[in-house]
């Protein structure tokens, strides 16, 4: 790697024309910090293992508002969202970061508006600290704003993002979800696409007292795309946020969750699984902040890495001084299937309260020889035995998804990408 140090402004070259055209004062403010820092390089500790060189200096233009509806429908078919169990779910479909009403079936029992109309930046994100969030704030055009009123069980909502790029584009949707006191929502996000693009969503999730938000993200973006998602969640007293990401697609992906347990007895799960091949880079990063006593956090992330792919896991659990009786657990496991695959893991505990129970674990290894032998000795061919073990390894992670239907949907999309019976 050569040691040429880029000027902060050089990292913004792909977006330069669009950033220069911004006049809105609120967005300009977000830009100030971004211009000073630029996009992070690997000298920034939080980006130690993931390089944004993928973006290089090719201009990423704003996508046009028009898109090919047939292509969009084909993509929905490919994702398995038009047949089977998921077909009847209320859905909000975004194409290239813009709401596509013709493809959508809005949910009935939630409050719904769009960032494109309200331009309401939430309060949970931190554009000053996170450069990609600042970039989003500067360039965001649309996004779903979902509110579940107090006491309402809103069932399931499907939020689909499609990237359909004829030329290199970038889109920066800004979603927000508010689940009011005692309410419930199961949010299923599915991301897919074709062509070369950057998908840079920011999502703010607010879970009120006694509310429950189950959230599954299935990322199966174009193999030529980058998906850099940043989520900010805040959970109030006895609220529960259960997050799961399944990373399958994109050349470069990062799923970054900032979860803040804001009041006693709040609970958060930040789970995930990745299955990568080729030269994919998949990064699962999280910062879980215990800002109140008696809260609980759980995290299990599993990686299956083939080809020359690289998996990154960074998980920080921060326990503030006030957060006594914290119960935190974090586990990261990786299975390397090829000699060129790589895993970089950094599970981190930062603890300032003394009466806590926090632990983390990490394991890395190849497929277990004994398990392989067990299957082979029972007449299972090698390729199939491998598939069974890989499937079992990931199935244990998927089993953490509390919503059974979301679990089935995620497993189904994984099977579309990695057919179980196919050749290895």
């Amino acid at each position: 790697m050569n040691a040429i140090i880029k000027q902060p402004s050089a990292t913004l070259v792909p977006f330069k024309a669009r950033l220069d055209a911004i006049t809105d004062p609120a967005r300009k403010a977000a830009l100030g910090a971004l211009h000073r820092s630029g996009l992070p390089d690997r000298r920034v500790e939080a980006w130690k293992y993931t390089s944004l060189r993928f973006l290089n200096e090719t201009p990423l233009v704003a996508p046009s508002e028009e898109f090919d509806a047939a292509q969009a429908r084909a993509e929905l078919d490919r994702l398995g969202l038009t047949a089977g169990e998921g077909a009847d779910l209320p859905r909000l479909v975004f194409v290239n970061g813009r709401y596509a009403p013709d493809l959508s079936v809005p949910p009935q029992n939630v409050g719904l508006s769009f960032f494109g109309k309200t331009e309401a930046f939430g309060t949970l994100s931190s554009p000053d600290r996170d450069a990609l969030t600042a970039l989003n704030a500067a360039l965001a055009t649309d996004g779903a704003e979902i509110t579940v009123a107090a006491g309402v069980d809103a069932g399931r909502v499907l939020l689909v993002s499609l990237g359909l790029a004829d030329e290199p584009v970038s889109f920066h949707p800004r979603h927000s979800v508010t689940v009011e006191e005692g309410a419930r929502l199961s949010l299923i996000c599915v991301q897919g696409g074709q062509g070369r693009y950057l998908h840079n969503p920011v999502m703010e999730l607010s879970v009120a007292a006694n509310a429950t938000l189950n959230h599954v993200t299935v990322q199966t973006e174009s193999d030529d795309a980058a998906c850099l998602a940043t989520l900010y969640a805040q959970i109030e007293e006895r609220g529960s946020y259960d997050s799961f990401v399944l990373g399958l697609g994109a050349a470069l992906s990062r799923h970054e969750v900032h979860a803040r347990l804001n009041a006693p007895h709040a609970e958060v799960h930040v789970n995930g699984a990745q299955r990568l091949l080729g030269r994919q880079v998949g990064d699962v990063t999280s910062v879980i902040t215990h800002a109140a006593p008696d809260c609980r956090s759980r995290q299990t992330v599993r990686n299956v890495l083939d080809g020359q792919s690289r998996g990154v896991f960074q998980g920080k659990v921060l326990v503030e001084r006030i957060a006594q009786k914290t119960d935190g657990y974090q586990m990261n496991q990786a299975l390397l299937l090829s000699e060129q695959a790589e895993i970089d893991a950094k599970p981190e505990l930062e603890i300032y309260a003394d009466d806590v129970k926090c632990s983390h674990g990490a394991t890395v290894g190849a497929l277990d020889d004994e398990q392989m032998f067990y299957l082979r000795s029972r007449g299972v061919p090698e390729a199939e035995a491998r598939q069974i073990l890989i499937h079992a390894f990931l199935a244990e992670a998927l089993a953490l998804i509390p919503d059974a239907m979301a679990q089935t949907l995620a497993a189904h999309i994984m099977e579309i990408r990695f057919p179980v019976t196919g050749e290895e």
């Binding site: 090829s338 695959a341 790589e342 003394d354 990490a362 394991t363 890395v364």
Partner: protein, 496 residues
């Protein structure tokens, strides 16, 4: 919790007095003028009567250092250090290189006597008084470094007979220049990092050990570092080379007077283990940690690294870190030789306002290399303690194996304990396991001990010692005793 209140009261009573090594020796010193520039380096080199190549090496390191920035990634905070406001050379005034104890300043001898360091060869125990009625244990050879120079090295005759070289590095430069030149800077290059570069430019003394092929060093070797002079930094450099099939166990101890200002200690330790060689390096780090308000104390910025060059070689680091205001230290192993083994056992205790960021790096290069990391962190008072460790497996390290366990214990609600492991694996045939826990002393254990009549302090002491047992048992006997006492003293008041 009553135990905590009780211990806190006790700590307040104790205050500074618990650091019993904090006295100052009044001795006539030869000081270099304050400041750091090429002239300082030339002066050090001249005082040490060094050959030209070493001066060149120092100057190259200095120019590299000038280009470098102080590392900021560690979880420690301190006011900016003025590198020009210190003496880089301080030596007790004496005839150069005393050959026998008779020539050493009696004031110095009294200092070491007070510290419990045996410089007379008949005094056989390092650091511990011989209990009555007990027979002497195997002897320990000691190299005593006082500020910038080594004042005496014991048992040199016995070691020479076995073929082992154990002498101050300044002397080794003169008497074994080829060996020093061959290995110096090969494990920690002069420009490795900010503090290593600084050390390479201005290092003054330290120990040199060479164990030839097939020799098992007949006794434990030990270096005792003492900072005494005001406004000085100590920059010692240790180089240990162990040839094929040879082995050595090396102990390192250190103390400093209690002062209100901070003093800098930036050491470099390089270990080289050839085929089937083994090096055991144990440290009890007890620099002055500052007072209960965080005033004074040593800044301990140390680079320690060992290279397992030969097949089946082994390097084992054991450290008990109780002192220093700030500790920045990552004893590491580069596992090159096939089947080589790296170990890191650490207990880090911080109290009052101490900050420690310590851990290790295990770089697996060769096939079937193995490493074990056991790190125990105890934070009390308003201190912050971080374990930071890297396990890196490179593509050719088939069959590499690592096991890491980090446990943190928090005592009191104003301290912090952090764990930052980095795991980088590029080989599918490697197995890495990491686990970490953070907790406080369990009420059950405390209750169990109290119920059997132990005082709260004794109970906490017992539990802490049990918590650290996996590491303490790795220490050579003499050090283990000292380390246990140190743990008690370091946590005195805050626990037991």
């Amino acid at each position: 919790m009553p135990a905590v209140t009780e211990t806190r009261e006790a700590v307040e009573k104790l205050g500074q007095s618990s650091y019993k090594w904090g006295f100052e020796t009044d001795i006539d010193m030869d000081l270099a003028p304050k400041g750091l520039n090429e002239d300082t380096i030339r002066l050090i080199s001249a005082r040490k009567e060094e050959p030209e190549w070493l001066l060149e090496w120092r100057l190259a390191a200095f120019s590299a250092w000038q280009q470098m920035e102080e590392p900021k990634w560690a979880k420690v905070a301190y006011p900016p250090i003025d590198y020009q406001d210190a003496h880089y050379y301080a030596a007790p005034r004496k005839k150069p290189g005393p050959k026998s104890l008779e020539e050493v300043d009696p004031e110095l001898l009294r200092t070491y006597e007070k510290l419990g360091i045996p410089l007379h060869e008949q005094a056989l125990l390092a650091g511990v008084e011989l209990p009555e009625g007990e027979t002497a244990r195997p002897p320990v050879a000691v190299d005593a470094v006082f500020d910038s120079v080594s004042v005496v090295t014991t048992f040199r005759k016995t070691l020479e007979e076995a073929g082992v070289i154990f002498c101050p590095i300044s002397e080794a430069v003169k008497e074994h220049p080829d060996l020093v030149r061959k290995y110096l800077g090969t494990v920690v290059p002069a420009g490795d990092n900010f503090y290593a570069a600084l050390n390479s430019a201005v290092f003054t003394d330290g120990s040199f050990v060479y164990v030839p092929k097939g020799v098992r060093c007949p006794m434990e070797l030990s270096t005792y570092f003492r900072i005494n002079a005001r406004n000085t930094g100590q920059f010692e450099r240790t180089l240990i080379v162990v040839e094929d099939g040879a082995s050595v166990s090396y102990l390192e101890g250190c103390t400093a007077p209690m002062r209100d200002e901070n003093q800098l200690h930036a050491a470099v330790v390089e270990l080289v283990a050839m085929e089937d060689a083994s090096i055991k390096y144990s440290t009890v780090q007890n620099w002055y940690p500052g007072d209960e308000n965080g005033r004074g104390g040593i800044y301990n910025f140390v680079t320690k690294r060992g290279a397992c060059r030969g097949a089946r070689s082994k390097i084992s680091w054991t450290q008990v870190e109780t002192g220093s205001a700030i500790t920045w230290k990552y004893p590491s192993c580069i596992l090159q030789g096939e089947g080589s083994v790296g170990e890191f056992y650490s207990v880090a205790v911080t109290n009052n306002h101490q900050q420690a960021d310590t851990g290790t790096k295990m770089i697996h290069i060769g096939r079937n290399t193995r490493s074990t990391i056991i790190a125990k962190t105890i934070s009390a008072g308003q201190s912050d303690s971080t374990y930071r460790g890297l396990v890196r497996v490179l593509p050719k390290a088939y069959g590499a194996r690592n096991f890491t366990q980090c446990d943190s214990l928090l005592i009191g609600d104003r301290c912090g304990a952090h764990t930052v492991p980095y795991i980088e694996n590029r080989n599918m045939g490697a197995r890495i396991e990491h686990e970490a826990t953070t907790s406080k002393i369990s009420e059950d254990q405390l209750f169990y001990c109290r119920q059997r009549g132990l005082s709260e302090e004794d109970a906490v002491g017992l539990i802490v010692n049990g918590f650290c047992r996996d590491v303490l048992k790795e220490l050579p006997m003499e050090f283990a005793v000292e380390a246990q006492k140190l743990l008690q003293i370091s946590l005195e008041g805050s626990v037991g």
